[in-house]
Amino acid sequence: MWYNADVDLLTTSVATVESGSEPYTLVELVGEADVTNSDALREVLDAEVAKQPRTLIIDLSGLRFMDSSALHVILRANRAMDRQGGVVALASPRDPVAKMLRLTAADQLIPVYQSVSEASAG
């Protein structure tokens, strides 16, 4: 593809959260996730999946927009986690993102929770 990757449009932050006996990986997405930054998003998620966490929670509360490129990256991460016996959960999508997850039926594949704490409780 020929375009400038937009580094400012999407911010990702990653944390390992100690939660009782079972720590989980929390990836927070803030901004807009689209085709111009889906490669960067893929690198972030691939790196976390490679650490083989039991649970990977993606906090969508700060995400104003998500296109199908970003969705595909999340679906790939979900598939990889599934293969290695882990679980991906999505937390607190805003309305446009929640609608996108419903339209594509991605919410049938990946559980969507109202909050990170609900997601971590499983």
Partner: protein, 152 residues
């Protein structure tokens, strides 16, 4: 509130050219900055009186089509947006070529990691017209301001 475009005549599917945008259309050329494209569509849709949820649907549809410009061409694309009392229309034109005018009519498998873009566009818009020839591809997305049976 997406309705199937099957209820509408789609002359463009038979390869006829689309009529020109109406006077007063706003034009914007983009290459990399889809965020700006989305902001423009949202602003224009809201000014036209499209309800928030449907304005967001139109933003998603236009962004998906504009993303194809980045994926499949090496040149810029053009957004035209206009409205009248009945509808808001967004048109994306680029140098890409779509060989199958029926693309996006079937739902991809949920775990498919590709092919959702035009399917989403057809789901959220009231009417989608698509033409593609040697001059490039034009996708015109219509959103009715007050769909029948709703108070918008």
């Amino acid at each position: 509130m997406a309705r199937s475009s099957a209820h509408f005549p789609e002359p463009s599917s038979r390869g006829l050219p689309l009529p020109s945008p109406t006077n007063g259309a706003m034009y914007h050329t983009y290459r990399s900055d889809l965020s700006q494209v989305r902001a423009l569509v949202l602003q224009q849709a809201q000014e036209a009186g499209l309800a928030e949820g449907r304005a967001n649907d139109l933003v998603l549809a236009v962004s998906e089509v504009a993303a194809n410009t980045l994926r499949h061409t090496h040149s810029s694309g053009t957004l035209a947006i206009w409205h009248d009392a009945i509808e808001v229309v967004c048109e994306i034109h680029d140098e890409g070529k779509i060989s199958d005018p029926e693309v996006g009519r079937h739902r991809p498998a949920p775990d498919a990691t590709g092919g959702h873009g035009l399917w989403i566009v057809r789901q959220v818009c009231d009417l989608v017209e698509l033409t593609s020839d040697a001059n490039g591809t034009t996708v015109r997305m219509h959103m009715t301001l007050r769909p029948p049976g709703t108070r918008n």
